[in-house]
Chain length 395, copies 2
């Protein structure tokens, strides 16, 4: 047995401007490296309690059932669907990108009769489409929708849809993986029944945990189940007992990841939710002004502030540009997915990555590379347009 073929760990220093993970503040990395303690240690239980309080703040909810699931964002999706759905239940799933598609897949695996309400990739789901879907399927128990569709950058309005869902007597399940902590999201005010997220986007914590919150109505539905939740690992009633006063052992919590989330949430709380959202919006406006000055066109009709999906210009090699950004500048941006494979770039400005410095850097690097590749560009226009926004001008 030998380790000669395995070098010491020495990951390169990147600037993470893809669809997540985002750059992690050094405070969070340091917190994660604190000594491991037991998952039933009184101090660890204190950390869980305070994490729950901080998660409620960022979700803007009073929900008792607010936890961090021991898996990545997609485990949060599966937690919500698997706990709310019993075999044969009807579920409307809104599909306008990868993550709606995934939710429909998960729902089917949980035994739901899935009704898809679709919109073209890049578009949002219109309330009328939901209304029609609910009218056609009056037995619908749950409507699932993606607030921030990471594959297209589409920013889904939810208030009107929530009203329609509740009028129909259904529960609203929202994917907030990419929005939580950076884009306005109001779980209680918007009457969202179940909501999940990930840690590695606007919270700027490493990937590995899935914040999840359930309204009293949603958790009542879980408690009223006739069958066991098909996933033992994601059984929310058991998880809630561990997070609750009885502290019943379920799994060995990811202790050091919990340290990281705790510190990341403290940073969010220190900045303040409104200030954080305003920062994401300002840097988005500057980036957008710069990208559009380079004639790059946005894909979604309503773009998220923190994920900027643009078409790759005609005649430009998608992968070559991303490779040069990575190797020459250490900048990661995201590739297109599904129908946008090879045809889109996704530039994330999430959490700690959403800074004027990063906007400036990625615009400058992109302009240089595109210019080298022969794109027709007005050199300097991108930085000037972004600068205008920061100077209080811009659009």
């Amino acid at each position: 047995m030998t380790t000669t073929s395995v070098p010491p760990l020495d990951p390169p220093l990147r600037v993470l401007l893809g669809p997540g993970p985002s750059d992690v503040p050094s405070r969070v990395l340091q917190a994660m490296a604190a000594p491991t303690i037991g998952h039933l240690d009184p101090e660890y239980l204190r950390i869980m309690d305070d994490t729950r309080s901080l998660l409620r703040q960022v979700f803007r909810t009073d929900n008792e059932i607010t936890v961090a699931m021991p898996g990545t964002g997609s485990s949060g999706m599966e937690t919500c669907v698997a706990n709310l759905i019993e075999p044969g239940h009807e579920m409307v799933v809104c599909v306008n990108g990868v993550f709606g598609t995934r939710m429909a897949d998960v729902a089917g695996r949980c035994g739901a009769t899935v009704h898809r309400v679709e919109a073209p990739w890049g578009e949002v789901i219109e309330p009328e489409a939901i209304e029609k879907g609910l009218a056609e399927h009056p037995g619908t128990r749950v409507v699932g929708i993606v607030h921030a569709e990471t594959s297209t950058g589409a920013h889904q309005p939810l208030v009107e849809i929530s009203r329609l869902v509740h009028e129909a007597g259904a529960l609203l399940l929202v994917d907030a993986v990419t929005s939580l902590g950076g884009v306005e999201l109001k779980v209680d005010d918007w009457t969202i029944d179940a909501c999940y997220s990930g840690t590695q986007k606007c919270l700027s914590c490493p990937p590995g945990l899935a914040p999840v919150t359930f309204s009293p109505a949603a958790f009542d539905a879980v408690r009223a189940r006739k069958s066991k939740v098909q996933s033992w690992y994601l059984d929310l009633s058991m998880i809630a007992q561990y997070w609750g006063e009885s502290r019943v052992y379920h799994h060995t919590a990811p202790v050091n990841m919990s340290y990281a989330l705790y510190e990341a949430l403290r940073i969010v709380a220190e900045e303040g939710q409104e200030a954080r959202e305003a920062r994401h919006l300002l840097n988005h406006r500057a980036l957008r002004a710069g990208l559009e000055a380079m004639s790059l066109r946005y894909i979604p009709s309503r773009s998220l502030p923190n994920l900027n999906a643009v078409h790759v210009p005609e005649g430009i090699d998608d992968a070559a540009v991303r490779r040069r950004l990575l190797t020459e500048y250490g900048i990661e941006i995201g590739a297109g997915l599904g129908p946008f494979k090879g045809r889109a770039w996704r530039i994330g400005l999430m959490g700690h990555s959403s800074t004027q410095r990063n906007v400036t850097m990625v615009l400058a690097a992109l302009e240089t590379i595109l210019g080298d590749l022969g794109a027709s560009l007005d050199r300097g226009a991108a930085l000037a347009a972004a600068g205008d926004v920061y100077a209080g001008g811009g659009r």
Copy 2:
């Protein structure tokens, strides 16, 4: 919004001698705090490849399908069961503690017809019992058994059982959460078809990932499924595509946890598997000699070297002793579970926690506390007995 009620993170420095997590070497904590990179970054893909090589070494297998699942040890259990079982399949589950009980629960949720082969808690499963179970249920697809039953400390022999299982045409699924990296385990030599573990026991990495390996026969069974795996998150065929050459995006990998596992596995490889197992055995013999010199009786008929489950002496308050160990000495040991609640202590000597220093410290602390509580003790006998073992004597 205010953070005044949430103090900075400052976890106490513990000595982790419970059933896991174990003490994490500072090299591993430092590795985990390296800057986060993307889950599709070329350097991250290199780390995945090398992690797989290191996992194969520690599992002692050549299995192509060897991965770290993005969840804690129990997600590894659910991965194995959910991928191997389709609704209506028959599964024999060996139950002699918490984790066999859990496996039966998981199997039922996956739609298996579960046949329990039971032994009293603390005993191991005898080959004859398996033989009888297989004879009664000739359609059995999978036999699940726990190699290291963390709730009782029972050390399950597997070679003869593996022979019986394969003679009956079934697949052998082994829970190695507590054994991997500290107790002899030979996946290929013992013809284990599916095996899962956790990171926080003998690998001395924080909790959060589940190493899993599938034999070609087991993965063939997965590929031959008629129905989708009920868990999207734990769908091994999709996970294998991400770990394989095609690198198809599935979930956002827990990047920093992966750093930690990488470094933990490098440490295991540097020490060497045989040397590591010998260390666990030596420290176990010393601890056992000391505990028995204090008249503490072991629960299991065949004890694991790394988890020492003993009866709480008559008249001694279980919780008071553990609380004093924690508050006065910073030592965590485990409480009893199930029928042993309040009636057992579980002292782990796992991975980095398995040292002469820790054996000496926990024996000295226990002797002091038990003496204070009026237990009849031959003061000094425990340390003398342990010392004899280290001096090359002992039993």
